[in-house]
């Protein structure tokens, strides 16, 4: 099999990170702002002090042993099921930004209509494999029921796998219920959800209880911890890795205590704190180093791993956006990441999304998917007979071998230009964001809603309506 782990680390370093993480888990413990989580640990005989749980080496080793090395998530269209841990790099768009950035540079609140537009782009994307559960956080719908609106959109407007919501325990249960309406009562993986810890060494109530809900149902979870280096974790990469790794291992341990064999994606990250402002900075060389090391740690533990996506600090489609996004994603791809969120559309510290950046990032995703394909070394690919026939004077352009492969052999970007200068000068529009806008327009015109059984659609909508009614009644 093609080995994507082009960036490797000395195993003794990975061992050191692991051993020091165990030391933190034993000496400092991890705080869970959830009585349910603490109770699970307490009944299993873990040492608990208040909300802080302490772990022994055996607890972690036992947990790691039951995590599967790969699993398949169902899509509404079975042809779009995704296998995670099978060697491919699965990509989802932005996750969580509350804002949209227009080509003018103006920033505005994201809306449910934006969610719908992104769903249509995911559905028509040649490269994105699954949906995000918060591609943007819509501001024009009630926050407590927004997860229902987003889930319904991802289910109806796309037939690719969905992410479950982790905004609360209730949101996690709603996600499971919707999946049950589609697929019935099954323990097969039907979605994947992101459980983000707090740093350092903590899990919020929502995160911990979402993790409990999904693990109980045997549903896959990305357990992810990330430091802002120098503020919520040590300023050094080594220290940041130990803190985040310990936190992630604690979450994995909880999942396996609840339901051994729960599919997990291992994730950790680290980004610098901007020392002039105290802000959070993405897409730095330090982020990239985390990206490379997390994939090595994932392999060390034998668990599929998540890396960050096409992140940037830029707010427009400029050199910085392209450079930072490409640096992040290329490293993830070449070091062997299994999953990335934020692969399309993200601007400025993951605070905003843009349709034009989404289109541009797709070119990057496509290029990387092509880059990751193994090189063909078949007899036909070596083309020895043809090479000998043409010798030193031949023109390969006119050969059937070339014609047969001329549409498939090379990657063809949708947005990047490859025109000669004269043609480039004649292009209207010439600016990248405007050309991305044209592609966006065509994609939305071409979009067709995927087929769904009308009864299933009614059942899903009825459930959503009932839940909204009930939740508004409660509030």
């Amino acid at each position: 099999m093609f080995n994507r782990a082009l960036i490797n680390f000395d195993k003794s370093i990975l061992n050191q990170i692991h051993v020091r993480s165990l030391e933190l888990l034993s000496d400092c413990g991890v705080r869970f702002f959830s009585e349910k989580a603490v109770e699970i640990f307490r009944t299993r005989g873990f040492r608990v002090s208040g909300q802080t749980v302490f772990f022994k080496e055996k607890d972690i080793v036992d947990a790691l042993q039951t995590v599967p090395s790969q699993f398949t998530i169902k899509a509404r269209n079975p042809e779009k099921n995704i296998c995670i841990g099978g060697g491919d790099y699965m990509m989802a768009p932005g996750y969580g930004p509350p804002f949209m950035i227009e080509t003018s540079g103006e920033m505005r609140n994201a809306t449910l209509k934006d969610v719908h537009t992104f769903c249509k782009l995911v559905q028509t994307s040649k490269y994105l494999d699954f949906n995000s559960s918060i591609v943007v956080q819509p501001n024009d719908v009630a926050a407590e029921t927004a997860h229902l609106d987003i889930l319904l959109a991802t289910i109806l407007l796309t037939d690719k796998p969905i992410m479950g919501s982790t905004s609360s325990e209730i949101a996690a249960r709603d996600s499971l219920k919707l999946a049950e309406i589609i697929w019935g009562n099954t323990s097969d993986p039907l979605m994947i959800s992101l459980v983000d810890s707090l740093s350092p060494l903590q899990y919020s109530e929502e995160s911990a209880e979402s993790l409990i809900v999904y693990a109980t149902a045997g549903q896959p979870v990305i357990v992810h911890s990330s430091c802002s280096m120098g503020s919520t974790g040590p300023i050094t990469i080594a220290g940041s890795l130990v803190v985040s790794n310990a936190t992630t291992l604690a979450g994995i341990c909880l999942s396996q205590l609840i339901n051994p064999g729960t599919p997990i994606v291992y994730g950790l990250g680290g980004s610098p704190t901007e020392m002039r402002t105290g802000g959070y900075v993405n897409a730095s060389p330090e982020d990239v180093k985390h990206t490379a090391i997390v994939t090595a740690l994932g392999r060390y533990y034998g668990i599929p791993c998540r890396s960050q996506g096409a992140l940037t600090e830029s707010f427009c489609l400029d050199y910085q956006a392209g450079m930072e996004s490409a640096m992040m994603m290329t490293t993830a791809a070449l070091s062997g990441a299994d999953v990335s969120l934020h692969t399309c559309g993200t601007y400025g510290s993951m605070l905003a999304m843009s349709f034009e950046k989404f289109i541009a990032d797709e070119d990057l995703c496509g290029a990387l998917k092509k880059l990751m394909k193994p090189v063909e070394f078949s007899e036909e690919a070596f083309a020895m007979d043809l090479i000998k026939e043409l010798g030193t004077t031949g023109n390969y352009l006119m050969q059937k071998h070339t014609v047969k492969r001329c549409r498939t052999e090379f990657y063809e970007p949708a947005l990047s230009t490859r025109a000669i200068h004269t043609k480039w000068q004649q292009m209207e529009p010439r600016e990248m964001d405007k050309r991305a806008g044209q592609i966006l327009e065509n994609r939305l015109l071409d979009y067709k809603e995927p087929d769904i059984d009308p009864q299933l659609e009614r059942d899903l909508k009825t459930f959503i309506d009932q839940r909204k009614e009930r939740m508004s009644g409660v509030s």
């Binding site: 023109n395 352009l397 006119m398 050969q399 059937k400 070339t402 014609v403 001329c406 549409r407 000669i420 200068h421 004269t422 043609k423």
Partner: protein, 207 residues
């Protein structure tokens, strides 16, 4: 029906069908000019449009031209009887000192596809050879290709010699480093950045 089948076979890069359908059309008594202009050349006009629009790739355009030429070979004995003439004679080559021929070959193929008689002198062609051949063959156009900035001056000297010869032969130039500005500067009659553009250019010059 058969002429349409010839047209479609060229577009589909299907040389065998072009040959079969061309023969079938001749056997059925279809006018040779109709087969040539509406079937073969018409298809190559379409191929040029598809290529310029980016819908057809270079190897496909070349295969289409090959298929067209296969049909043309079948028509040739009948064309010789004067039922049809070439649209003009073009002498083409890569200039002295330059061995690059892919772009020149593309232009050559497309010109033939459009119904011109093309005399391809190959690469590293001297001013004298361009002039001598053009004079002997009564060519209307000399097409010069260069890929290297170091060989571009050869274009200027050849064009100068053509003008001095006073034969009324038009000159066109092309190649990756060549621009309209350069063409104007050295007194070329035309420039094109791609093969279909070169065909259009020659059609305009000879109109």
């Amino acid at each position: 029906m058969t002429v349409k089948a010839i047209f479609d076979a060229v577009i589909n890069l299907d040389e065998e069908t072009v040959k079969n359908q061309t023969q079938a059309a001749l056997d059925a008594g279809t006018d040779v000019n109709t087969i040539l202009n509406e079937g073969l050349i018409g298809a190559m006009d379409e191929v040029g449009e598809l290529f310029s629009a980016g819908d057809l790739f270079v190897p496909e355009m070349l295969m289409a031209a090959e298929a067209m030429k296969a049909g043309l070979a079948i028509l040739k004995p009948f064309l010789a009887e004067g039922q049809s003439r070439s649209k003009g004679i073009v002498v083409i080559g890569t200039v002295k000192g330059d061995l690059h021929d892919i772009g020149k070959n593309l232009v050559s193929m497309m010109m033939e596809g459009a119904g011109f008689e093309v005399i391809d002198l190959g690469v590293d062609v001297s001013t004298e050879d361009f002039l001598k051949t053009a004079e002997e063959k009564n060519a209307q156009v000399i097409a010069l290709s260069a890929l290297l900035t170091t060989t571009m001056p050869s274009m200027e000297s050849t064009i100068k010699a053509v003008k001095e010869a006073g034969l009324g032969i038009r000159t066109i130039i092309g190649g990756a480093p060549v621009t309209q500005t350069f063409a104007d500067q050295i007194g070329a009659d035309g420039f094109s950045s791609d093969a279909p553009g070169a065909v259009k250019l020659v059609k305009q010059l000879l109109a």
